[in-house]
């Protein structure tokens, strides 16, 4: 059976990657993953995923933000939908991100994101009906 689409997870928490991978694979997606921003960008260029789940705070507090900005400046990558995930909900905290540019993301969601939502978003973005 052909996969529903290719999903890239960029997150430095291997346990969370594993959990999301399991859920997405059980729903028929192909999952690739990267543990940091640079590796994530490289994989995007090689594998052309249909959707990226991007963690905000990795080794640097704005690593995820930097990745999405790079993507939106790169014609090869700017079409790939990005869902940004963060464990920080507080908007006051977002003020601590040293960035004054608008976030180049399609959705900004807080962890823990229910897996049903992860699958719903993946299906919506890749044009599947659930």
């Amino acid at each position: 059976m052909a996969t529903k689409g290719k999903v890239l997870i960029v997150d430095d928490d291997p346990d969370l990657v594993e959990v999301m991978r399991t859920a997405l694979e059980s729903d028929g997606f192909e999952v690739i993953s990267a543990a940091d921003g640079t590796q994530g960008l490289n994989l995007m260029r090689q594998e052309k995923p249909d959707l990226v789940f991007l963690d905000v705070i990795m080794a640097h507090p704005t690593e995820g933000v930097d990745v999405s900005t790079t993507m939106k400046e790169d014609p090869e990558l700017w079409d790939i939908p990005v869902v940004m995930l963060t464990s920080i909900v507080d908007t006051e905290y977002l003020g601590h991100f040293p960035t004054d540019r608008p976030l180049a993301v399609d959705q900004f969601l807080t962890k823990p994101l229910p897996l049903s939502d992860v699958l719903r978003i993946a299906n919506e973005v890749t044009g599947q009906d659930t």
């Binding site: 928490d13 291997p14 346990d15 969370l16 594993e18 959990v19 999301m20 399991t22 859920a23 059980s26 729903d27 705070i57 080794a59 464990s87 920080i88 507080d90 905290y93 601590h96 962890k111 823990p112 994101l113 229910p114 897996l115 049903s116």
Partner: protein, 475 residues
């Protein structure tokens, strides 16, 4: 501060004022001569005009000189010359006034009282001593003129409309006149300069007060900046802690979600749940470490401290650690000098220091082993834990003792870790007036040391630290 001294600025301004005032005096003298010559046809108008011209002449010179001084603002020359300049002007004015009086009736002329103005001006501009000298000079000049005319040494120019003939020769009158003038000048000088001195003191006090205020306010600004920095650091810390606590909780919830939602096959479920359990345990570790850290933060210095034998604390820790090391196939050696001084600290916290350093060493060492040493130098007790482990890159060394910091290779080698251990060690040791430091070489091993002040000095303090002797060969 010297250049802006208000008293000096005031003096310079007053000298400009003196020059302006003199033009008025010149004009007044000319009018006076005209009026007097109409009333007293015998008045020697020639010499009087000559003297007035001389006053105008030297005033031009002073004006030019004052301008030149003003041009040199800020060079410091003005400041030194101003009092001398004022003295010269006042002396010339006194001589000119006495000369005018001499040609206009001498002791008969009531305008002699104008001498008081000069003395008051001197008291305003000059120091107390200088103004006394000016008063004395004025009185002496006056006395010399009056007595000179009385004695016939100087010619007398009589003004018949002003006084009876021969007044200047009446000994008692002349003496009383000189006495009255001398007393008036000296008292006027003394009073004016005492008022001026008090004003100057007030100005000086105000100046000092304002400087003290400035110093105070700059101190307050500094303290405020420091507080703001601390506050920002605290906010950053709270944000980091929040993130570190939320991230594993999020992962645990997602893992449970995976199992409960039936997304994973049974064998996968077990694996995911055991990872979730490990993460929950990590959270517990983190909370324990955060409490430890906040305890170390709260204790200020030595208030809860008691004399602690580090060797004894180490002995208790070693029993547990030795098993852990041997389970990993590592050697574990302890090298403690005899007769080490106790240190002032909390025993539980010292246990935390040893435990953190030794368990780190075991955690990041795969071959070889761990050597723990305790020694004493002249002014400190030094504990050290050396391993033959993976080592730490030079770039990472400075950040090692920061909260939550774990190096990339450390994370890769050992997943479990809060990144708090070394931060706790640093906090504890520093709160008792000690230091921590690390030396390392990638691939060869690391050495973590801490030093605390001893409670008693070592008798053979000159001997070098024994901590340097422990050399380990990887197995």
């Amino acid at each position: 501060m010297i250049e802006q001294h208000p008293l000096q600025v005031e003096l310079v301004e007053r000298i400009d004022w003196l020059v302006r005032l003199r033009w008025i005096a010149v004009a007044g003298t000319l009018v006076g001569i005209m009026v007097a010559s109409a009333m007293e046809p015998g008045l020697p108008v020639g010499p009087l005009l000559a003297i007035t011209a001389a006053i105008a002449g030297y005033n031009v010179v002073f004006l030019l000189y004052a301008r030149r001084l003003n041009l040199r603002r800020g060079t410091g020359i003005r400041r030194r010359q101003s009092p001398v300049f004022a003295q010269v002007q006042i002396a010339l004015d006194l001589i000119a006034l006495i000369a005018l009086l001499h040609f206009a009736g001498g002791v008969e002329n009531p305008l002699a009282i104008f001498l008081v103005f000069h003395v008051i001006i001197a008291s305003i501009l000059l120091t107390r001593t200088a103004s006394f000298l000016v008063a004395l000079f004025a009185a002496s000049l006056y006395a010399a003129m009056v007595l000179g005319e009385y004695a016939g040494v100087l010619p007398h120019h009589h003004l018949p409309h002003l006084a009876g003939a021969g007044l200047y020769l009446q000994g008692v009158y002349v003496a009383a006149n000189v006495f009255a003038m001398t007393v008036t000048l000296l008292l006027a000088g003394a009073m004016a300069s005492s008022i001026t001195t008090r004003l100057r003191e007030r100005t000086q006090d105000l100046l000092q007060a304002s400087q003290t205020c400035e110093i105070h306010s700059s101190g307050l600004t500094e303290a405020n900046d420091k507080l703001r920095e601390l506050d920002e650091a605290r906010t950053r810390f709270i944000v980091t802690v929040t993130h570190e606590l939320r991230a594993p909780v999020g992962t645990i919830i997602s893992a449970l979600d995976l199992v409960l939602g039936g997304y994973a096959a049974p064998e996968k479920q077990r694996k995911v749940l055991s990872r979730a359990q490990a993460r929950a345990q990590e959270l517990l570790d983190l909370i324990r470490d955060l409490l430890e850290l906040s305890k170390a933060r709260q204790i200020e210095g030595t208030q809860q401290a008691q004399p602690v034998q580090l060797a004894q604390v180490l002995e208790n820790v070693v029993e547990l650690m030795r098993v852990e090391a041997e389970n990993k196939g590592l050697f574990f050696s302890v090298d403690v000098e005899m007769g080490i001084s106790p240190v002032l600290a909390d025993p539980d916290q010292m246990k935390a220091v040893w435990t953190n350093l030794i368990s780190n060493a075991i955690k990041y060492t795969e071959r070889g082993g761990v050597t723990v040493s305790l020694s004493q130098t002249a002014d400190r007790v030094v504990g050290a834990v050396q391993d033959t482990g993976m080592g730490i890159a030079a770039d990472d060394l400075p950040k090692l003792f920061e909260e939550f910091y774990r190096t990339g290779p450390a994370k890769a080698a050992v997943q479990r870790g809060t990144g708090m251990g070394l931060a706790i060690v640093k906090r504890i040791v520093e709160s008792y007036g000690g230091q921590v430091w690390a030396e390392s070489e990638v691939g060869k091993g690391s050495k973590f040391s801490f030093a605390l002040p001893p409670t008693t000095a070592r008798p053979d303090a000159a001997a070098p630290a024994a901590g340097e002797q422990d050399v380990n060969q990887p197995a």
